[in-house]
Amino acid sequence: MGMEGIGARVTRKEDKRFITGAGRYVDDMVVPGMKHAVFVRSPHAHAQIKKIDVKQAQAMPGVVAVLTGKELKADGIGNLICGWMIHSKDGSPMKMGAWSPLAFDRVRYVGDAVAIVIADTKGEARDAAEAVEVTYKELKAVVDAVKALEKGAPQLHPEAEGNLIFDWEIGDAKATDAAIKAAHHVTRMKIVNNRLVPNAMEPRAALGYYDKGEDHYTCWTTSQNPHVARLVMSAFYNVAPENKLRVIAPDVGGGFGSKIFIYPEEVVCLWASKKAGVPVKWVADRTESFLTDAHGRDHHSTVEMAFDKNNRITGLKVDTVANLGAYMSLFSSSVPTYLYATLLSGQYNIPAIHANVRTVYTNTAPVDAYRGAGRPEATYLLERTIETAARELGVSPAELRRTNFITQFPHQTPVIMCYDAGDYATSLDAAMKAADYAGFAKRRDKAKKAGKLRGIGMSCYIEACGIAPSAAVGSLGAGVGLWESAEVRVNAVGTIEVLTGSHSHGQGHETTFAQLVAGRFGVPIDSISIVHGDTDKVQMGMGTYGSRSGAVGMSAIVKALDKVEAKAKKIAAHLLEADEGDIVIENGALKVAGTDKNVPWFQMALAAYTAHNLPSGMEAGLKETAFYDPTNFTFPAGCYICELEVDPETGLTEIIQFVAADDFGNIINPMIVEGQVHGGIAQGVGQAMLEGAYYDASGQLLTASYMDYTMPRAGDLPSFKVSTSNTPCPSNPLGIKGCGEAGAIGSPPAVINALTDALGVADFTMPATPSRVWAAVQKH
């Protein structure tokens, strides 16, 4: 470990361009002859398209083309797909309805795209979009997933009878039912996980450019995984073969999952670019983002948690209805199944678990992965239930958890996952100490004297990151493998380029990945560049989501570095006339151990490229590629504690303190890890106290701007107390577990457990806005 190696608080290399406004985002890209696109979108949640008249729009000033779904279909562009096959418990495959990138016969949510208008300027395109006449026949809409399952509910897709996409189960129903029957105590709850809008700072955007001379397409797009975008657009949407399609995801201003998926707009911009003969750029405005970015969460669940007389959990039964919106987005089916129900054992030794999950079409925006993706839903359900159980059983929430903690590793849960390492009690102790949990009663009494209701709540979360072993996810229905790739190029003067399939959209890879290399070879961090986000530059890779860039992406780099090191040592041994096994790398030089004989790193690199004096038979150059496929998920875990105070007169709730004690395995850059935790908690507190996407009964989004959708602000949050106590992950070379999602996963139940403690109520539906808190105070 050096000043710039693993474990160092290196300031982020990329921040210079971000904070000086020199970042390059899709909207900064300009191609000669480029035109601007606006999408005509459905104002109705559910309607038949009777007629689309584009004549008037086509005649408007500046208009280049107005194109509709019929033309798209005629050109053979495919429907959008969900890439993870889930089978219902009766063995039937999930019922995926058709999703045309431009709707031509029916619209199914407000914002569904029906036409693209391309003009010289965005203003002209907007004017012409208003002149496109679409005749709709309105149909009844349904926005609530539970109601959509009822008899007589409006039907969205002929493929999915009763709006049911699949009815899936995991675990042992019989054993779980038996455990509940034999239980000493059963805690039963109804849990709602509120719908959220991701709200990345940079809205989605796409620039499609068809080069007629080369018969080649380029797509600049706001993607977390440009290679996956290319693969899907090529293999399923018939945009172009992979060798004729370059996808570039330049600087991307936040994703939180919402930029994993391939949306209609990038497909349509690429197709339209050839059709209209001009490069086509589209940038979402904020209202479009609210309406059409894939939303997150939206679960309705019931849960039963059974205990024996020693307060040990004997069984957990869960029934969940998950709203997937109007169409199945790219990974929508995996979120409420394998990313959710497989985490229902939490940090606890639970002998029997059964979960049933029904996914449902509604006339709302598609729902897919959002920071945490399934794991926040599992954690919220479990941690709300165990806290409630502790209150019902009259034992301390900490002790009930401690009684049930898994302490032996590896631990096979009844729901697929095999936890490899962890120390849950250490995190719990650290969090309770940092929060002065023992002193809470005094603080509560003091607050009471001031007319305030104070509460404290905790959450002991676990998540599965480092997504994911390819064969395992393949056997569970994934359409892709989830390995990662890396290429390490040592240049002739010793500078290094790392080409990674991971994609940085806020994570700081340009710094952490460079730290790994700097530490390994003792070369300055500025001599290392991280290249990502361009399918023409970088070998196939799977992108960034599921806290995988450290555990999987960096492991691939380690594999490539191993190969580079081996060859570098061979060259050095040859130059120094030493044995290869005696060469060590220290401070930027390759040395013969125990002597002062050495060859500087750059000289070794030069030798590799001049090739004047290489070992016999060795190829020139120094460049190695590796693909790393994880052997297991990683299991970050921790304990979060929230203390808050309610003003019963107004319902206004203030977080007094928020403590996070995490186990992330080994850490590359503590500053970046803290940043991830801070951001994650802000989003989790947002979900718990501020954010909620609401549709009215007709399917209009009521929270389609910041006037009505509450994003967390600095003033809503306290200064966090964060710490880590780390057990290295045994399954990857760096011992990394991942930290990108923990904050968003662990924090909502801690907040609501604190709130229900303050209010003395069992149930509370997020978000804890003043009006809802006040209503709860009135009822109590």
Binding site: T650, G651, L690, T703, Y706, D708, T710, T769, S771
Partner: protein, 265 residues
């Protein structure tokens, strides 16, 4: 935004003349109109900018009499030393509007002419018994605000100033919408020489209104305790995803109590 012609008026007379062009609208700070135009919800053919007319700017305090020019920004109102002394409640109210960017652009005349049902100034004007001065007449605040985004202003009529006598005691308490930070309920309490006036913004389904039951209770005793038994009816209060009518009714008494406590210092 649709294309629009921009005119800068040099005087009120100039503005009146320019207002006759097409479907012209006045713009001062533009804090409501410009966002509405950007989302194409408003589409005037012409904008007449009155924010730089010198005669419309500035704050005068003479004894108890306060006059604030219509084009005076919220920032200027919040930081004016004379006003802070004469009527600190109004200066403080101005400091609570929007964010620094809004406070440096938005103007008092623009706010009251727009009459957003959740805006802060209408409550102050009504509670202070202010007079709204236009290029044609003087209108009592009680009569000026008509309904949601509606005032008694006629075509070609421009707010030039507001005047009022500084009250003996006053305070404004605002409970914010968590998303927009506009008032869900804002209560301005003013104790004059012989009366108490209490105006409520953010809550009424027809905009700002006077809370007469609260006024009556406070006229007897200007003390938060006087409001203990006062119930506010939820009838004709707004109900939306952020706050039910019942919640707003409850908050009106809470904010009124807190305002009285603040006014009493």
């Amino acid at each position: 935004m649709y294309s629009v012609n921009y005119h800068r008026a040099n005087s009120v007379a100039d503005a009146v003349k320019l207002l006759k062009t097409g479907d012209a609208k006045l713009v001062s700070g533009g804090m409501t109109l410009i966002p509405a135009m950007k989302t194409r919800l408003a589409a005037p053919s012409d904008l007449v900018d009155i924010s730089r007319i010198t005669a419309l700017k500035g704050i005068k305090v003479s004894g108890k009499a306060v006059t604030i020019g219509a084009a005076t920004t919220h920032y200027e109102v919040s930081t004016d030393a004379k006003l802070q002394k004469a009527c600190p409640a109004l200066a403080e109210l101005a400091s609570m509007i929007g964010d620094p960017a809004v406070r440096h652009r938005g103007t008092i005349g623009g706010s009251i002419a727009n009459n957003d049902p959740a805006a802060d100034y209408p409550a102050a004007m009504v509670a202070l018994g202010a007079t709204i001065v236009t290029n044609k007449r003087e209108i009592a605040a009680d009569k000026f605000f008509k309904g949601l985004f509606e005032t008694v202003l006629k075509d070609g009529e421009i707010v030039t100033a507001v005047t009022f006598n500084a009250p003996a005691k006053a305070a404004y308490q605002k409970f914010r919408n968590p998303a927009s930070r506009y008032a869900i309920v804002g209560v301005f309490v003013a104790k004059g020489k012989d009366d108490v006036r209490v105006a409520v913004t953010g809550a009424g389904d027809n905009g700002v209104f006077r809370a007469k039951t609260i006024e009556a209770a406070l006229a007897k005793s200007f003390d938060p305790a006087a409001l203990a038994g006062v119930k506010i009816s939820a009838d004709s209060l707004m109900s939306d995803i952020h706050a039910s009518a019942d919640y707003r009714a409850h908050l009106i008494s809470v904010m009124a109590k807190r305002a009285v406590a603040a006014a009493n210092g």
